[in-house]
């Protein structure tokens, strides 16, 4: 029983990475209507930038995260301003193909700049160690991750529901033309939202560096997981993304524990079931 509860907690921390990526993907899709295939690559870049600052140059942990966010936001600025902007009106196939091109570029660019697989840098002092929960040792860092994820969820909810910015974003998401007609500067808004989504992904990547290996190709793995999360939760729905992330994270953790060979497969089966029963996703429609 305790093992199950413990594994549930492990799943929760796994879920938070997924949530951070899926949140950015969902916001970008909801407002811009773009499904950014390269979103996982932005997560990967966030991890690499943070690793470089913190692991290679010894910069303060929090500062490293900030620098990583800025770096990835700049990359995403270039992506949106010079490429994506020109294909908004085209079929979604073009978006997927274009962002797929970016995946290829980022994957090799990362190899060229940083080489192959990396070691995991040491944990920042204040997070090292573990505390006993459910009779086992649970890493403090993972608690931090869970806290950060929930913090982002609350923060996003506050921004979208309670601030003027949030209202504009929600309005533009539901009716772009109308928003433009009442004076919202759509191009700038889109760029800003895209960068914000990218920053969320980078945040996830940066947070992952002390515990997960940083290597080329993690972007590709992560985007698949993000897609599964958003399909389960409902495309374009933030609440769905959060719930979907928790479902996928917890199921993966239980899968690793109970059915080690098939833990990856289980996630897809769950996705298939959701699709059969409620195609728009749990919160979609």
């Amino acid at each position: 029983m305790e093992t199950l509860a413990f594994q549930g907690l492990v799943g929760l921390s796994l879920a938070m990475y997924l949530w951070l990526i899926a949140a950015g993907l969902t916001i970008v899709f909801g407002v811009l209507g773009i499904l950014n295939f390269a979103h996982g690559s932005l997560y990967m870049l966030g991890a690499y930038f943070a690793f470089t600052c913190y692991g290679l140059w010894g910069i303060n942990f929090w500062l490293s995260i900030l620098l990583s966010l800025i770096g990835v936001a700049l990359v995403s600025l270039v992506m949106e301003r010079f490429f994506l902007r020109f294909i908004y009106h085209l079929d979604v196939a073009y978006q997927l193909l274009l962002t797929f091109g970016f995946i290829l570029i980022f994957d090799d660019a990362v190899k060229i700049t940083w080489g192959g697989v990396f070691m995991i840098p040491p944990m920042p002092d204040f997070f090292s160690g573990a505390i006993p929960i459910f009779g086992r040792s649970f890493p403090v860092y993972n608690l931090f991750i869970i806290g950060a994820g929930i913090g982002v969820a609350i923060g996003l909810w506050l921004i979208l529901e309670r601030t003027w910015w949030g209202r504009i974003i929600r309005a533009s998401a539901s009716d772009r033309e109308m928003a433009g007609a009442i004076g919202v500067n759509i191009p700038i808004l889109f760029t800003a939202v895209f960068m914000f989504g990218a920053a969320l992904a980078a945040f996830g990547g940066a947070l992952s560096t002390p515990v997960r290996v940083v290597a080329p190709g993690i972007g590709a793995t992560v985007i698949i997981q993000a897609f599964v999360v958003t399909v389960i939760g409902g495309l374009g729905n933030l609440k769905g993304a959060f719930v979907g992330a928790i479902i996928v994270g917890v199921l993966t953790a239980y899968g690793i524990l109970l059915f080690p060979i098939f833990e990856l497969f289980i996630i897809f089966v769950v996705m298939a079931i959701v699709l059969l029963l409620k195609p728009e996703g749990l919160f979609g429609g």
């Binding site: 499904l35 490429f83 020109f86 294909i87 085209l90 079929d91 979604v92 196939a93 073009y94 997927l96 193909l97 274009l98 797929f100 091109g101 970016f102 995946i103 290829l104 570029i105 980022f106 994957d107 090799d108 660019a109 190899k111 060229i112 590709a220 698949i224 897609f227 599964v228 958003t230 399909v231 495309l235 060979i261 098939f262 990856l264 497969f265 897809f268 089966v269 996705m271 298939a272 699709l275 059969l276 195609p279």
Partner: protein, 337 residues
């Protein structure tokens, strides 16, 4: 493509010229073993296999308007299916047929789940299901050999028991087998695309509601198209094990699904021959780039960006929109229409 009546190049109709070129190409392909040797034979086989793979993909994208990022899953079904049968029954035909059938059945089942959805969802679903197949291929050691995959697959003889048996151990013999099978498959798909069924698919691409209002069940036709795409991916996959003697999980990974996507992008989405031209270009470009740098993905990525931003119709579109009209204006004595 509709024929443009009354236009001639060098006195021959446009259609006749392209048919002539096609015939020439087929003849050249038949003489590759004699004229060129082992490496070009090998490359030609890979190009043919990718052509079949990409043509199936483009039946979905160019003709039906469905972008599938999961075709590698069916390719892997074909490869693993063929491989496993060949290890048990060293005879080429049962192996190939098993692979194709396995891919087809999988396509029907997964298609049923995917086809009810709109374009974005559809693309995502195919991606995810393709990766589902990858996860099975990678982890299910007992069935698929896991990370190592299937090894020691024989290049079995092509035989019908009691009637004939052709040894395939020489690369040349297998080359001719692959060539003939691929040409037949390509020809068959051409017939399908030019049939009433093919026209309905294009209607679905252009306006699915209008097709509904013409009395056609869009879902059923999409499912059929998806199955054909899966069968062709399966055929491409099934031709691989006898050639390489091994089958490994990366064949099912979505980055492998990207190959027919790229080939089609390169060659052109809107024509039948686009994917074939693109397959050829894909291998040529890869070959060239790899001589200079190991970082060929980034070059490919840049090419993709250039194509999507600048040339959505692919290379064949330059041919049709710029070159042919130019040639016509220069050499034809009559007006264009």
């Amino acid at each position: 493509m509709m024929t443009r009546k009354g236009v001639s190049i060098f006195g021959y109709g446009y259609k006749k010229v392209s048919n002539l070129l096609l015939l020439l190409l087929i003849v050249v392909l038949f003489f590759v073993p004699q004229l060129a040797g082992k490496y070009p034979m090998y490359m030609a086989m890979h190009i043919l296999i990718l052509s079949v793979f990409a043509l199936g993909f483009n039946l979905l994208l160019g003709y039906t308007g469905l972008l599938s990022f999961g075709q590698a899953g069916f390719y892997a079904c074909g490869a693993y299916g063929c491989g496993k049968v060949l290890i048990l029954i060293p005879s080429l035909l049962p192996g190939i047929i098993s692979g194709v059938l396995f891919a087809g059945v999988t396509a029907v089942i997964l298609g049923f789940l995917c086809i009810r959805h709109t374009r974005i969802y559809f693309a995502m679903l195919t991606l995810c299901f393709g990766m589902m197949i990858y996860s099975l291929a990678w982890k299910w050691h007992t069935m698929t050999g896991g990370d190592d995959g299937l090894v020691g697959i024989p290049r079995a003889p092509l035989e019908i028991p009691g009637i004939f048996s052709i040894d395939m151990s020489s690369l040349q013999n297998y080359y001719y087998f692959v060539l003939i099978v691929c040409l037949l498959a390509i020809g068959l798909l051409y017939r399908i695309v030019k049939s009433p069924f093919g026209l309905i698919l294009q209607g679905i691409r252009d306006s699915e509601s209008r097709v509904s209002f013409s009395g056609v069940s869009v879902k059923n036709y999409r499912l059929i198209a998806f199955t054909i795409g899966g069968l062709y991916a399966g055929l491409a996959g099934a031709l691989l094990p006898p050639l390489e003697n091994t089958v490994t999980p990366p064949l099912a990974h979505w980055t492998h699904s990207a190959e027919p996507v790229l080939a089609t992008l390169l060659g052109g989405i809107h024509t039948f021959s686009g994917p074939v031209v693109g397959a050829f270009l894909f291998y040529v470009i890869k070959d060239v780039i790899v001589r200079f740098t190991e970082y060929w993905l980034i070059c490919l990525g840049v090419i993709v960006l250039a194509l999507v931003m600048g040339l959505p119709g692919g290379v064949v579109s330059i041919f049709e929109q710029k070159l042919i009209p130019w040639v016509r204006l220069r050499f034809a004595g009559r007006s264009l229409h």
